[in-house]
Symmetry: D2
Subunit: 296 residues, 4 copies
């Protein structure tokens, strides 16, 4: 396992911070931030920005080195507040050594789960996975193989509130800050969704907004589309209407039956979900107006 260990080591060795900023657009924002970092000896590793002219909005992501910098994660807010106030910024600062803590929820289809677990183990997803929750037992052996605690919580029409209460308790206990629905076939309550705003990522097995709702592959087959898709998005109160993080498609033909669509779709779902998760945990996503800006 020398290779894997080395990868994991490399990832946690970095000591950087990522600053995400959203504010009204005006002159001098970039200059102020760049000057601030320069004065604090913080070397900029990556910077990307976006202006939305229509909404007069400025969005920026800056990743800088904490090594050798005269600012730390702790004292950054104090130092940065005057600039933040001056430009009315919404901002967040994330340290690379504080890894995201991701819970995975899954039902019976295990292809997305296997994919996430393998990417996690190989160091591609630089986060902690403190637990897996499922309403079935099918994936328990996988969880065990990858050494992740597994919790089986059955969900029915009658016990939904109770089941979610148990889920919340587990999320609290394990200090979860991201919930990934890896083909979890239960609709979350409005309460659940409100509790984790922009903290729940779902994979929908269609090219949204086409085929919102249930059985998208069957409906794609009936409609006779020539491409099928998958969409990862943040979960909001309106089903399948949350901000889209990533989408991709694959070509199908009349030779493909519904079963073939399902099989081809699995490859899409895996890739699309894992990209969304990676961008989230690498703090590459900014949200506004029910849309995402991906600074990749």
């Amino acid at each position: 396992m020398a290779v894997l260990r080395f990868k994991a080591a490399r990832a946690t060795m970095k000591n950087t911070a990522t600053l995400l900023v959203t504010c009204p657009d005006r002159k001098g924002i970039v200059a102020s931030i760049a000057d601030f970092l320069y004065r604090h000896d913080a070397n900029i590793l990556h910077a990307d920005q976006h202006q939305d002219a229509e909404n007069n909005l400025f969005l920026m992501r800056v990743e800088f080195d904490l090594e050798g910098a005269k600012v730390t994660l702790d004292n950054f807010p104090g130092h940065f507040s005057s600039i933040a106030d001056q430009f009315s910024m919404n901002w967040e600062l994330k340290g690379s050594q504080r890894r995201a803590r991701m819970a995975i929820m899954v039902s019976q289809y295990d292809h997305c789960l296997v994919d996430l677990l393998h990417r996690h183990q190989s160091g591609e997803l630089d986060c902690d996975i403190p637990l897996i929750i499922s309403n079935h037992r099918d994936t328990e052996h996988l969880a065990r193989f990858y050494g992740i605690p597994f919790f089986h919580i059955e969900v029915s029409r009658d016990n939904k509130a109770e089941a979610e209460a148990r889920q919340f308790a587990l999320f609290d206990e394990h200090q979860v800050d991201l919930i990934v629905l890896a083909r979890y076939m239960q609709i979350l309550s409005p309460d659940f969704v409100k509790r984790y705003p922009h903290r729940i990522i779902n994979i929908h097995h269609s090219f949204l907004p086409a085929f919102i709702g249930a059985r998208p592959y069957h409906r794609a087959f009936e409609r006779g589309v020539k491409l099928i898709g998958a969409t990862s998005h943040y979960v909001t109160e309106v089903l399948d209407e949350g901000p889209i993080i990533e989408q991709d498609i694959t070509r199908i033909s009349h030779r493909d039956q519904v079963e073939d669509l399902i099989q081809k779709g699995r490859d899409l779902e895996r890739v699309v979900l894992s990209r969304a998760v990676r961008w989230h945990i690498e703090n590459r996503i900014l949200l506004y107006a029910n849309k995402t800006v991906i600074f990749d």
Copy 2:
């Protein structure tokens, strides 16, 4: 122009026939057709078939050489009828030397029109284009350059029936058997659609069934999708619900404004529409259950 002339020559030199068959699936269909052609010395150049198990349907396309065959376009029906009856076939026979006669309807956006005309001139679209009809004059110079008769027929809320009557007269006069809506921004009347069943091809500037209706690029921008698409389909009475012939997509990002979507979409529209038109005139499309089977 030696190159172009040679290409055009090559296309009309072929003397083949294409048989399209749809019938209930049962044993012996392929054997009967293959045997029929063999007995008439007709060499099979391409054959493709499809079974829809769910609907117990058999679909086939056979292209065979008329040179040296003991059957002609004219006497084929007489010879083939007993097999056709035996298997309750719907069938059509098209000769390669009877080229499709395609009318193009267009409004102001000329990118699809330019593309079709250039492909036609270069021999890629092996059909006749007896006329272009537009509700604007913007593309008249293009029609003239490519030597295609151009008819300007204004359409308003008040004169729609009258305008369509003039269009029908032109189609009749020019013996049109295919109408391509190359970004024609008028909704056809139910009467128009009924008159040319599966003879009208439209290009819709979205990945249907997403963004049915008007202004799909604007709505794609608002929804924050990560891919935009284009769809070519046969026009039926329900807007944007006809059988899909071809679709494709391209990736966009937050850096793309609505204008960029429109620009990127133009490249999609061109390619998707031209593929659909080519498959139609090469008799590669079979229709059933509001879907297409493309034998490419």
Copy 3:
């Protein structure tokens, strides 16, 4: 595991045969084969054919139902030989209930192995995997998890012939008829390759014929290409020159370092290799002139 078991059951329940034919092209081949099957009450489920006019070659794949047919896998050769002789056919017949027996060879990178094992378990790859051979121990735990016998055979410059002899013995013992190199980082001897003609599938991590040989991602990075690719191919005596089965690409940008290419490439390698393996075990590949025809 109800879902998985059902899938596996479904796959072996089919009782069909696939006939692959290559012969000089002339009139009457399709008619003869179709008539033969019809006379033996064998219902054609899928048929696809291809003519290579330049080489005057006819290639065909026919899958037919053995249920209710008056021909069996055993007596087919006797019945079919007169047609085969008449048209000078090369042909093969494969029964769906005789599953391919696939050995996987792997070194340290485990992403392709994980992918194949998961697809196998979920029923997507309908074959047996009697063993995994590796020159490292890194993937032994994966083999154990999926219940596949694992053999560790170290390979060095000095023991290559001996190591291969042990491999051949294992292949014989386990009646292997397909060897998949799932990122196996050793070059096979000419003797090995000759022993398994068109029975060894490799995944090369570039868009062949670009970047033949070692370290393709590094060379792609140096050349500054905008897309990277992966290629699955049959192994022949000339390195990376065997018949290509499948290829795919993904887009990269200047923001991608070699490490990112390697990571993005892994997703390609998985998908491209698994498609090639599936087509092989479903008898969808015909070979001629160092090329493949894929009847998918």
Copy 4:
């Protein structure tokens, strides 16, 4: 033509400048540039940067508004020189109102030419096209239709130097600063290439570095690849080895003959070349180490 005129108008109405910078990477570069622009009241419209850690290189593109700025295209060098010297910058400044002057060279295949001319007319390519040079007369009518001066200069083994001398004279006379080889089937002399360093864009009809040299579609067909590609690149002294600007691919199958590859390839060539040209004239390309960085 109201639509077209409006587009063209919009493009020239902008009054912005684009600064391209390459220099050794160190702290403070972004801060210095951003501060410089802020002090001169120049609003940053877009900024993008890239660090190449391996080569310790910093690359940046900043587009800023000249309206209301206290710096002009003329006096910028004087004001900026102290920063440029401090960081040892290579830099260029381009004004949006000084449009690139692009010559197109073409032989007989006209699909790329038609595409460029149509994109130019529709406002998508915001440049001047003062002339078209061809070694054939096939495209003269197209040049005339789009109102571009056309020069026919025959090239043979014997008159190459003389022909190029005439070409140079025309480029000088028309103040050409970009030469696009839109399927120009002559190899340029080393003298030609040296004269216009990084000013000549070619479209190669393969996925470079696969199939360098002549007849790539034929060789792709022979090799049996499953995808074909196109590559636009700057022309350097070594054939097909210049910095790659853009690439794309399309899928082919065994059903495609060389002619089909050529036809499918045309769609690729058009799109890939036009993207490269657009990025060049919008000053989105930075060059180093025989590679391009595209700030799109």
